[in-house]
Amino acid sequence: MKNNIRVERAIKNITQADLAQAIGVSRQTINTIESNRYVPSTVLALKIARVFGKPVEEIFTLDEED
């Protein structure tokens, strides 16, 4: 699964730490999601989407391998 959290963060001008705090996870978790080393649960994906005010599909998209 791919994601464009890094881009969305840049648009909103917030850091990994800000996003982590907003959804109640560690900075490490945001970092692992951004670098595609961890696939978040649906709950976490929805929370991230809510922070950016966009639907989940605009932030997370399926890969060819999925």
């Binding site: 990994q16 109640g24 996870v25 560690s26 900075r27 490490q28 978790t29 970092n31 692992t32 670098s35 961890y38 978040p40 649960s41 976490l44």
Partner: protein, 139 residues
């Protein structure tokens, strides 16, 4: 994220403390035994058994608390890492168990190895992964 059945955060330090404390006691006793010989009577609840039991319990409880205490921020990624590490430690433990069953008949030490390997390997693997994540965030 709500994680069930975990000790509080400070449990890790209490656990390490117990493990560290048990090492000099065991070493000291070994020295004493070296002087007096290993000729104490066998059986249950004699001096030797009580000493073995108390030091082993100290270490086992220490490892147990250190392995299963909460992180500062408990989230789903940590839960995932913990489960992955547990799986790895069971694999490694069974590898050790099978190899030692084939090549050894020393059941007491096999038992002891089985007490140590899963938790020690789990702690090392879990800590290593967290360390890696922390290092990547700084780059």
């Amino acid at each position: 994220m709500k994680s069930l059945f975990l000790f509080p955060y400070w449990g890790r330090y209490l656990g390490y403390f117990l493990v560290v404390v048990h090492i000099p006691i065991v070493l000291y006793k070994k020295q004493l035994m070296g002087m007096h010989g290993d000729s104490m009577a066998d059986g249950i609840f004699n001096g030797r058994h009580l000493f073995f039991m108390s030091t082993t319990l100290l270490m086992a409880i220490g490892l147990f608390i250190a392995a299963f205490s909460k992180e500062k921020i408990e989230d789903e990624q940590i839960v995932r890492l913990r489960l992955d590490s547990l799986q790895w430690s069971v694999y490694v433990n069974f590898l050790f168990l099978i190899v030692s069953l084939i090549f050894s008949t020393d059941t007491e030490h096999i038992l002891f190895l089985n007490l140590l390997v899963p938790l020690v390997f789990f702690i090392i693997r879990f800590r290593w992964k967290i360390f890696q994540n922390n290092r990547l965030i700084k780059e």
